[in-house]
Symmetry: C2
Subunit: 319 residues, 2 copies
């Protein structure tokens, strides 16, 4: 009975080169949508002064080796203290005994990474396949992860960027320069959306920033910014206009994210929703025409945490 691994973010970073989770992440979404996962509702703690929020996501795949508990917090005022706003850890336990196996003090970085990978999988699965350009909305951590994971998965030759703060967009462009593809900053969001066929939204907006009218036929949008009942990046009418609206977890998206907002605005009915895992499994159709508008709304599911935590754990075991 050995003690659990305790890895901090530096330790984890060194292992990431050996971590390849695209296939296992897709498989986990498939198993989840087949009903082969136990994922209770997200636990949440909110703080007022200083403001902060903690999300606890947990669950397991039936027949799997581990259960996962993931704690991810956001305390925006941390930046004033020189501390990263995102903090937390992923905990991996033996599914047969409850013994802790790994304590990954990832400072929420693994959450950012698995969100990036899931976003790229959704974009690749639902966007037209011949695209060479992707548009990233926002300039935060997730803009970086979405850009990198997308370039990793799709044969893109350029990225378009829009952010409310032009200076932050410039820093983002600079941070992504090692990708060796063309990156352009746009200042006119409406014009940019109108010429985009693949858009990834990564902001923490609480009122929609992308209007339904702007979105042209054939466009796919992956929305990853909104993971609470309050946040909202897309005009609810856009979800009514879309041919296909894909959730990572219908049960969860009914309570948070763009889908929650569109349901509340009566722009959508639950019956028309499909899950990413169903599209990946081929049990539901994804895009069936190049002119369709498709939307993927990702709020983040504990199976993603399970997949990335297990991958890091296995990489550590084999070292």
């Amino acid at each position: 009975m050995s003690a659990p691994f305790l890895l901090n973010w530096d330790d984890i970073s060194l292992l990431l080169g050996q971590v390849e989770v695209h296939d296992s992440m897709k498989q986990a979404f498939i198993e989840y949508s087949k009903g082969n996962a136990e994922i209770p509702p997200v636990g949440e703690l909110l703080f007022e002064d200083p403001p902060g929020e903690v999300h606890i996501k947990y669950g397991y795949l039936k027949g799997g080796s581990h259960y996962v508990i993931k704690i991810a917090s956001g305390f925006p005022n941390n930046e004033e203290e020189g501390i990263k706003p995102g903090q937390g850890m992923m905990l991996l336990f033996n599914i047969n005994t409850g013994l802790p196996q790994a304590i990954l003090v990832d400072e929420a970085n693994l959450t950012d990474l698995r969100t990036g990978i899931a976003g790229a999988i959704a974009s690749q699965t639902l966007a037209n396949s011949d695209l060479e350009v992707a548009t990233i909305i926002g300039s935060g951590v997730q803009a970086r992860y979405q850009a990198r994971c997308l370039v990793d998965l799709m044969p893109l030759n350029s990225l378009m960027i829009w952010a409310r703060d032009h200076k932050k967009a410039e820093v983002l462009m600079d941070d992504l320069s090692d990708l060796n593809i063309t990156i352009k900053i746009h200042n006119d969001l409406e014009a940019l959306v109108k010429e985009s066929q693949l858009i990834v939204t990564t902001t923490s907006a609480k009122t929609p920033i992308i209007k339904s009218d702007w979105v042209q036929p054939g466009t796919h949008i992956t929305a990853v910014g909104s993971d609470t009942p309050e946040k909202c990046e897309l005009d609810p009418k856009l979800l009514a206009k879309a041919s296909i609206v894909v959730a990572d977890s219908i049960s969860q998206n009914k309570l948070r994210g763009e889908i929650y907002q569109a349901l509340k605005a009566n722009c959508l009915s639950v019956e028309n929703l499909i899950e990413l895992g169903e599209v990946l499994a081929g049990t539901k159709l994804g895009r069936t025409g190049s002119n369709q508008i498709t939307v993927a709304d990702l709020t983040g599911v504990a199976i993603q945490d399970l997949v990335i935590a297990e991958a890091v754990y296995r990489a550590k075991l084999s070292n």
Copy 2:
């Protein structure tokens, strides 16, 4: 920004001599009942093969220094593998930044300890004050903690024990021999209950083992065994018969434990419930007559985990 402490149960055990939490535990119950705590509903994962359950309790006191997340699992088949059935950890985070401060891999022992302490506080608060004898029902881990914490807090000179399995009762008696008080095993539960004035129930019974008729005027019962919607140690009629029924958390006991069962059986109404913190604060009356029957139903609240985890953390800091 230092790394969090990682302490295993051996490390924690060595610190427990410096840990005194009676006052802070009482204060935490008081603050909780005043509404000064944020304690979301308990998170739960259930496993079928092998059977197991995980409870996630979390929360914070307003104005406090930390938020806590406590993971406690029970996998009964572990014993066949020579592994302790209870496993888990308590996690302490800075309430202003989310930075992890302590990772206490306590194998669920701190949960057992804080449950013992809370049970003893409830028993001391509600039982007649001149008692010299207490009755412990059950022979598991919690029978030991309740006995030890009770003897620590009340001037008892003897303990009565009943357990379904006489051999286990003998082992329990042996394990408690260092307490240096008289300990007797009874085989007739009905006769024992009839002569008891303070009873602590610690079993995982799923059908009531203590009948309402057996319980004599003046008796106090602290029920700590049932912490799920399924478990039940007390005849629901006993809660109707009692002058006072005390919950550790009314919101939680409405969903789990003896109170849940009695509400379901229409033997109790929520309006008549009071909380331990209200009695401790003096805002609600506890026992007002020596002939009253009183019942405390404790399902375990995250503030208890917060108190014990903070105490261990402070002990470590001062070492």
